[in-house]
């Protein structure tokens, strides 16, 4: 295990653990961005340049920033003083430890463990593009359709709830008008219609 890989592994481990344990959600999402960027460096080290660049573009540039926007949009003043973890901690932790030991044992006992690193192997952008346009053109089109549908769906999800939110604020306003005499509020409802 070489020195640069040790640094990257340390960075990934620390930032991933920080991303799932910190209290402030903004810090969590920023640590997540560090994890994604370090993973892109690991991809670069493994010779997959195009994947490293798409990792930076999609994960660091889009997913982490989108999560940051949602954290800031859903932030409601004072954080509640309750625990940030679920009440049952032991069983999920045991499941995670079991999964980790299972994965590590499977990796340790595999016959590929001592296989040498393919030195010259590298994903050339030209080859990736040719494969995408020949053998994998149908999955590429399906993926484009899926992305379009998902993003339109996301926009509709957010927009549809805006309508509900308007109704809720209308309700809140009419409740606020109850400070006036009752006769005035009963007359104000037809005016709204």
């Amino acid at each position: 295990m070489s020195f640069d890989l040790a640094i990257l592994a340390l960075l990934i481990g620390v930032s991933a653990i920080a991303a799932i344990t910190l209290r402030d959600l903004v810090h969590c999402v920023l640590c997540l961005a560090v994890t994604f960027a370090s993973l892109a460096a690991v991809y670069l080290r493994l010779g997959a340049e195009f994947l490293a660049f798409s990792q930076v573009l999609v994960y660091v540039g889009a997913v982490a920033i989108l999560a940051l926007f949602v954290v800031l949009l859903t932030r409601t003043g004072e954080p509640r003083a309750e625990s940030r973890f679920s009440p049952q901690v032991m069983i999920p932790l045991a499941v995670c430890a079991f999964v980790f030991t299972g994965l590590a044992a499977a990796a340790w006992s595999s016959s590929l463990k001592d296989s040498p690193e393919a030195v010259g192997a590298s994903m050339k952008l030209k080859d990736v593009g040719r494969e995408l346009m020949t053998s994998y053109v149908l999955p590429l089109e399906v993926l484009g359709l899926l992305l379009t549908a998902a993003l339109i769906g996301a926009a509709i999800l957010a927009k549809a709830d805006d309508g509900e939110d308007d109704e809720v604020t209308d309700l809140g306003e009419s409740q606020g008008q109850q400070q006036r005499p009752m006769v005035a509020t009963t007359h104000s409802d037809p005016k709204h219609d």
Partner: protein, 100 residues
């Protein structure tokens, strides 16, 4: 290839812990993203150390996986926004009704 596999196991377990343990829906989504990244790392490692390093299939698998994860994150975060407008909270423990 052992360090890479241990690293991806650690990433997967951390993501699983976040998805199972955290109460905030955004952090649950973050855990799912971490698990997806662990799978992507495994794809690349098995391409690099496997018997067939001239194949381009792993790169395209990871590329499709990244794109689908982006779509999933977009829809998931839009759902969290909608739920936050409805429940005024992003705590998954508060979302226990099918009919709101």
């Amino acid at each position: 290839m052992m360090p890479y596999l241990l690293l991806s196991s650690l990433l997967f377990s951390a993501g699983l812990a976040a998805a199972l343990l955290r109460r905030n829906a955004i952090l649950v989504l973050v855990g799912i993203e971490l698990m997806l990244n662990a799978a992507n790392l495994n794809f690349v490692v098995f391409w690099k150390f496997g018997p067939n390093p001239e194949s381009m299939a792993p790169a395209l698998f990871v590329l499709f996986s990244i794109a689908i994860a982006a779509a999933e994150a977009g829809v998931g975060l839009a759902l969290i926004l909608a739920l936050h407008k409805h429940f005024k909270s992003t705590n998954v423990d508060d979302m226990n009704l099918l009919k709101g």
